[in-house]
Symmetry: C2
Subunit: 270 residues, 2 copies
């Protein structure tokens, strides 16, 4: 039993998709969520600056003495997991490994698509993990640099012609490649799930990285006896830009699920 | 005569449209350009953090002892000009005033459209400036939050279906309002000039904020005797993210115009 909180972070709002799953699975835990909204997006930036920002994000979360940290961000998971794990003596969970496992287990025809930010695709992290697990699977990577700006602007619903056109452009090569499984390799993308599903067709299995990462973290913490013994947990939210904008958008994204205070952080001081 | 350099900054690449004009008008000047590529975009962020970033950008440029600073960024000009002018004892030029003057002079029917980032439109700066100059002009403001992400991803050319669809969505209300003059209130937007012109129709006058700001700065510095007496100037580029990505994209944007070294800066130390 460990009563300490679990830290969760993302470049912005996307990580809330993982947080929602974590809270559903672990209603008795305390969570600290940090969204780096003052520097979002990470996915178009260079590896070095992503690692620098991620170190600051983790340093901030560590000020709460967490028992574990969940990197609820595909871009950080793909570009900085090894560095963060090397620097810190606590369990740190990324989304790439669990998503690769889920994809390898799900595919029937051995063709898996991966959509993610430019920085994640450039890192080759998803391909590398899947190749390690199942070398015969053919991975089709596709960078989708406009998806995060669209989602952060609240544009992710079916019927939005811009979103549908962008999805058609990005996903056409994956449809042509005949993938039967598609990794949504960025925690913003589950918000586009309906648009992606209608573009890919319902027979393609979509892997929600935030959800599989949450599931993996819960199983690991449980096996290590690190969960809290508490009926009702809590969540505190921290952001590096305006707290009002975050609370408003987060409530839309999570359909009223956001509860608790939102506090502004000077992240560059960490 | 003043041999000191002129500082120019933007959140990213957009300010290069103003820099190009400055260099064309003032071939004998030395320029220092800073693009805050590690924190781009500014236009979706809150006023407080925009002011904080702008102060750091100016502090960095001041380390070169410039004789003047050009804010080649609509979002910073609209949200932080007064604060920056109050903090610093050197001429600081923003894009809003010169663009408002140019628009007021250009309109024949008294209906002016302003397109800019969400933060610029929310500030009301363009409307306020135009109302001061010519209270009878009707201003139609329109936030275009996806334009900067599109441009920063190199997508701004006619024939790009996504760009054309987004432009159609944003500009339709301005066409319906019958504006005869449109302020491109963000220095990224001149790159979209061809798409915007084809959407608005050729009879609408487009005001390039970077160019009119450059022109205004040159006239002011010249009147104050602050220009350099030198045949051949130079330009040094600084960015807060990867220098390679910047050099590659800047060369595309400015059609080979970028010349000189690009150096990485730890902007949060300023």
């Amino acid at each position: 039993m460990d009563p300490r909180p679990i830290g969760v972070f993302d470049s912005g709002l996307g990580g809330l998709t993982a947080l929602r799953e974590l809270r559903r699975l672990l209603p008795g835990e305390h969570f600290i969520y940090f969204g780096d909204t003052g520097r979002v997006p990470y996915g178009g930036k260079g590896r070095e600056i992503i690692q620098h920002y991620a170190r600051q994000d983790v340093a901030f979360l560590r000020s709460f003495d967490p028992k574990a940290i969940v990197i609820a961000c595909g871009t950080v998971s793909a570009n900085a997991l090894a560095e963060l794990t090397g620097d810190n003596d606590l369990p740190i969970f990324g989304v790439v490994g669990p998503a690769a496992q889920a994809a390898a287990a799900a595919t029937r025809n051995g063709r898996v698509g991966v959509i993610a930010t430019a920085a994640s695709i450039r890192s080759g992290a998803y391909e590398g993990q899947i190749a390690q697990l199942a070398p015969r699977i053919k991975v089709c990577p596709q960078a989708c640099p406009l998806f995060v700006p669209l989602v952060e602007n609240g544009r992710f619903r079916p019927g939005d012609k811009v979103v549908e056109l962008v999805a058609e452009e990005y996903l056409a090569p994956l449809r042509q490649a005949g993938v039967d499984t598609l990794v949504l390799g960025c925690t913003h993308y589950p918000l586009l799930r309906a648009v992606i599903a209608q573009t890919m067709g319902t027979e393609v299995t979509l892997i929600d990285t935030g959800a599989v990462c949450a599931d993996h973290a819960v199983r690991t913490l449980s096996a290590q006896g690190l969960l809290a013994d508490r009926a009702q947990g809590s969540c505190r939210y921290f952001v590096s830009d305006s707290t009002q904008d975050f609370a408003r958008l987060a409530s839309i994204f999570l359909e009223g699920d956001i509860a608790g205070e939102v506090t502004r952080v000077e992240i560059e001081n960490y």
